[in-house]
Amino acid sequence: MEKFIGKSVKRREDARFLKGAGKYTDDIKLPKMTQAAFVRSPYAHAKILSVDTSEAENAEGVVAVFTAQDGCGEYGVPCGWQVDFKNGETMREPQHPLLAKDKIRHLGEAVAIVIAESLELARDAAELVEVDYEELPAVTDPKKAMEDGAPLVHEQWADNAAFDWCIGNDRAEVETALASAYHVTELEYRNQRLAPNAMEPRSYIADYDVNADKWTLYTSTQNPHLIRLLLCAFALGIPEHKVRVVSYDVGGGFGSKIYHYTEEALLTWASKEIGRPIKWTSDRSEAFLTDAHGRDHVVHSRMGFDKEGKIVAHLTDEYCGLGAYLSTFAPAVPTYLHGTLFQGVYTTPLIHLNVTAPFTHTVAVDAYRGAGRPEATYLLERIISKGAQEMNMDPTEIRLKNFIPPFDGVEQPGYQTQVALQYDSGNYHAVLKRGLEMLGYEDFRKEQKEAREKGRLLGVGFSTYIEGCGIAPSAVVGALGARAGLYEVGQVRVQPTGKVSVYTGAHSHGQGHETVFAQFVADKLGIPMDDVEIEHGDTEQVAFGMGTYGSRSLAVGGSAIVKSIEKILEKGAKIAAHKLEAAEGDLEYAEGKWTVKGTDKSVSFGDVSLTAYVPHDYPEGLEPGLDFSSFYDPSNFTYPFGTHIAVVEVDPDTGKVDLKRFVACDDVGNVMNPMIVDGQIQGGVAQGVGQALLEEVVYDEGGQMITGSYMDYAMPRADDLPMIESDRTVTPCPHNPLGVKGAGEAGAIGSTPAVVNAVVDALAHLGVSDLQMPLTPQRVWKAMQN
């Protein structure tokens, strides 16, 4: 029987994607379906003085116009994570209304929904809604939001803080260690705000069936069951068993489609009001204004070293913007997904992170590919490189001096950090060593020296990262404020003919689950991959699930499927033993059949499956059928790691950065499909390079977005990138049955600081020691002039 684990099996889903035959939400057309358009605020902060919908209501083809006055969703959309203030005060949690009532708190906030017979008519009518605003001063920068006299986002509180938080060792102890350190490196910067830019914009269809008194919500989400829960139990207060959430093909999410958005709830509510289905698909302009953004940290950090370059202490203060309302996972991102990675891959004995998280007059900030971990990695990898630069050390030498020694989590215990987590397994020396080989480090330094003499500016930058994936042990996250468990569900249904349907609560929006999950299911059952089908994305088909984010699908969702396979084989063995008239203990399962050890007597998986459903001659007391569902709650996070190396050349005339090489040696544990892992790394690296060199959401002082289209928001393109040279080491995860760690975010986490470190290295001899992202030609050129 052909084995599939570890092979670059081509993606099953690509045939339909490449032919334009995917089934995205916007492709779905229901009978009697209407189309919605939103009236959105042109101001970041304003009083709504009046809303006049009369002209719109009478416009051609208009079915209904709703405003906040119509009583839609009085609860608003909820936040799924609670982080209280350090002094015990409860997190400030404003209601997030489905439509703004009295006050606008961010640009693009919806004031009214116009529902019409066609999209064109809805758009035309939306322009007829007259809203009278009184514009108010806005604050969009998280640090400025905490200054005295800053405009308040929510007037019921004295200042803009939603919460503050800290983690690690006692601050005074860390301060003392810094004061006596041989050298202290300081870094101040902004980890800039990014727009997620999924290729498919958000799209929803809500369909209320008046006869059945049931709702169906088709939605471009990463987690259909979670949306159903939040929609039913919180936003609308409607019965969960009467709501079906369907999410077939989804064109990318990068985090932005985890959250429960106001439009989902509002369409669901309005569909019952009008008794017809309603579709809304965001256009790109709306996506820039209303998809939750990422990052937005203002950082001040100090790291102390001893004479040899060993880190003795690390202290950081951050202002992390949350936007106007708390998005689903927003409070977790700058805290538990961020501060818990401050150990990095280093033995730093004293660490303290202090976070102030204010509201700002902007769209919400939430998880974006990496979610808190790229921000942590950027900080650590920049400050350690800056430390090396200041202490005249080689950036690889300082890393090697500070690495946590190798541990496999089996023979050697996991590594207990100063910031709550225990790493599962790691070998940080090995990935750096391999990365340096791939690069040809010594040769590069020679080339750099020669180039510099000719006036060319070459640089190399390193990043040795770790991330926490496989989110997450429910008890742990519960103790940290999560309002959900983060287990996963996997059902394996063996059909009477021995064909296998697998139902997973994970959700593929580009990852390739249909292929990868089928690979290991086929191997574990010893059957052809063609006999396995993976189903996801429909709450009426899949029992339950928590969806896909945090590089969790294989580590958590895959493990749930493995548990069900084990149950299938256990029950199958009972049936096989009966058929073979042998004791269960005398059987072994391999190559899709149970064999009596040491004999040629065997029975196939297909035979046993048929018997399970046609139980004429059957073990006594055993239930018919071969169908198991399992919940898997991981015992720990997983900790992928790696080394990323960038080589750049800077144009001395213009400051333009040319990324010449990118070397990635990652360790994501066991690899199911190398091609897909390579693709994930490449895509992640492209996004990380995008942050380093190109991307930034810019709001002006008044809260207007000046990067609201691709004319001004620079995305990385193929010709901005070199071919990515990638390799792997394999340190299996010791605590999940597949030994996998997750690969979805690694590229975006590791790459950004490598690129910035490389540019700083290229300019170091000109006295440049830091640069603000994105490294636009203008910024780089100006740094060179000073």
Binding site: T707, A714, P777
Partner: protein, 266 residues
Amino acid sequence: MIPSKFNYIKATSVNEAVSLLDEHGFDAKILSGGHSLIPAMKLRLNRPEVVIDIGGIPGMDVITEEGDAVVIGANCTHQQILNSEIIYKNVNILKQTAATIGDVQVRNKGTIGGSLAHADPSADYPATVLACDATIIVEGKNGSRTIAATDFFLGIFTTALEDDEIITAVRFPKIAHGNYHKFYQSASRFAVVGVAVVFDGSGVKVGVTGVADTPYRATKVEEAYNGDSSAAEHAVDGVAVMSDHFADEAYRSHLAKVFVKRGLEA
């Protein structure tokens, strides 16, 4: 991204297009390749009541050699210009310019006439038509006339075209030595700075786009030119330099000098 309602009329001749333009006046817009107009309409920044499509008018998409000149129909796409043997041999600087515009999809639809009429201050062609001393051939209700490139661009999105006039062709003198250099805006890939340099005997003609709200001839550079690139220092003399999120006045001025220098040295 849905435009307001509009009427669409497909013109079959230049005369018909001109008379439609005359009839509808300010309410009408001319559609050629649509790569400036349609995005503006989708964002409802532009709401013409009538769109007059000149895209299919016979004879307007032809490139011909006429004695010392090359005449390019206004409906020629950027890709057509890029692929044209006539242009490669006679006005290679224009081929270089077209190669920097957008991507293949844009170049397959966008036209030289449309781009010039739109007069985006960061568009590429203006630098080249200025440096080449090209002439813009236009037709209106009072017949045809030609406008020198140096008289054509009046300001941001503003040209010397009358309300009833459309561009029918652009006439380039044959250029033996010239080059176009561009610094791309990283998001839009329009020109932060675009510089066209044409060597003409012992002199030089320099067209600059992206730097000011109107593309210009860098006459101070031309006057100071004495065979080397030192004259590049004068690239923005007397020019009100634009400033935006990607390039402020100081950086843009510096880039203009760098790219004029590159052009003079090429």
